[in-house]
């Protein structure tokens, strides 16, 4: 039951933000929706008990790749996007509504956990025993069976780094 609620909620957010990424006119907004989309995908990985993948998703995608996109969007300085400035406060009401929803959610969590103080302790007891098991398994597999693909991936990243510097630099 809980897994179903989590899955359908996360799916709704993932698909909704993906549609917003594709349809939004303002490119900077599109990049920020992409950040939200990647964060919800990371939560889905936690649901699939792939904790290592979730951490890598947050570190590499939302921390690295999306920042790179944001840099390029700022650098290319798109003139146009006139619809971004017509009414700067048009989203204030929606933002207030969404913040109120988050506040209500936090209040519900606090009230719920205060009403049942014993449930939190059992969850943490059960969860602590297998923390880090997934990371150990993935690391073991990565450095034994898939060592050569791992090294090839590192060479690929090195080549991509050199290529990106050569392309982006005006004169060597």
């Amino acid at each position: 039951m809980g897994e179903a609620i989590a899955f359908y909620g996360l799916s709704a957010f993932i698909l909704g933000f993906a549609i917003l990424v594709v349809t939004t006119r303002n490119t900077v907004h599109s990049v920020l929706f992409l950040v939200a989309n990647f964060m919800f995908v990371a939560m889905l990985y936690v649901l699939l008990s792939a904790e290592f993948l979730a951490v890598i998703q947050v570190l590499v995608y939302t921390g690295g790749i999306v920042v790179l996109y944001l840099f390029v969007v700022m650098l290319v300085n798109l003139k146009g996007s006139p619809e971004a400035h017509e009414d700067p406060r048009r989203l204030a009401r929606t933002g207030l509504l969404l913040s109120g929803a988050v506040l209500a959610e936090f209040a519900a969590i606090i009230v719920y956990s205060a009403a049942r103080p014993s449930s939190g302790a059992t969850v943490s007891d059960a969860g602590l025993s297998d923390v880090g098991g997934n990371v150990e398994q993935v690391g073991w597999m990565l450095y034994t069976n898939y060592l050569i693909p791992f090294e090839v991936a590192s060479i690929l990243l090195l080549v991509a780094m050199v290529g990106a510097i050569v392309l982006a630099k005006r004169e060597l």
Binding site: M1, E3, A4, F7, S11, I14, L15, A18, I19, V21, V22, T27, S30, V31, L34, N37, F38, V41, L44, Y45, L48, S49, A50, F52, L53, I56, Q57, V60, Y61, I65, L68, Y69, F71, V72, V73, L75, V76, L78, N134, Q137, V138, M141, L142, N145, Y146, P149, F150, A153, L156, L157, V159, A160, M161, G163, A164, I165, V166, L167, A168, R170
Partner: protein
């Protein structure tokens, strides 16, 4: 309906992939097209993680890590190309990108 199987994750992955394909096909801004490609790679990763969960084997997650590495390399080189093109042509519209040399 309430029991989440691998098929549910595959439907989600396919939907996300289709949104990415639609973004690549419909949009004209090349930065948005690159972001749609990232969405498609994420859909593939969800599929790999779901099968890793179903088969109780971490090899799917190992391949997802490789996909993320390739996505990072692709983003770095692709955005470098976009910057180099923009310096010469002052555009990010793919309809105006019709020359192989300048």
């Amino acid at each position: 309906m309430l029991e989440i199987t691998t098929a549910h994750y595959m439907v989600l992955s396919a939907s996300l992939f289709m949104i990415g394909v639609i973004g690549v096909m419909v949009r004209r801004n090349i930065i948005i097209i690159f972001m749609s490609i990232e969405l498609m790679l994420n859909a593939v990763n969800i599929n790999l993680a779901a099968f890793s969960y179903q088969l109780e084997h971490v090899v799917g997650q190992v391949f997802a890590v490789f996909v993320i590495a390739v996505a990072a390399a692709e983003a770095a080189v692709g955005l470098g190309i976009i910057l180099a093109f923009y310096r010469n042509k002052e555009t990010v519209n793919i309809d105006e990108m019709n020359v192989m040399r300048w």
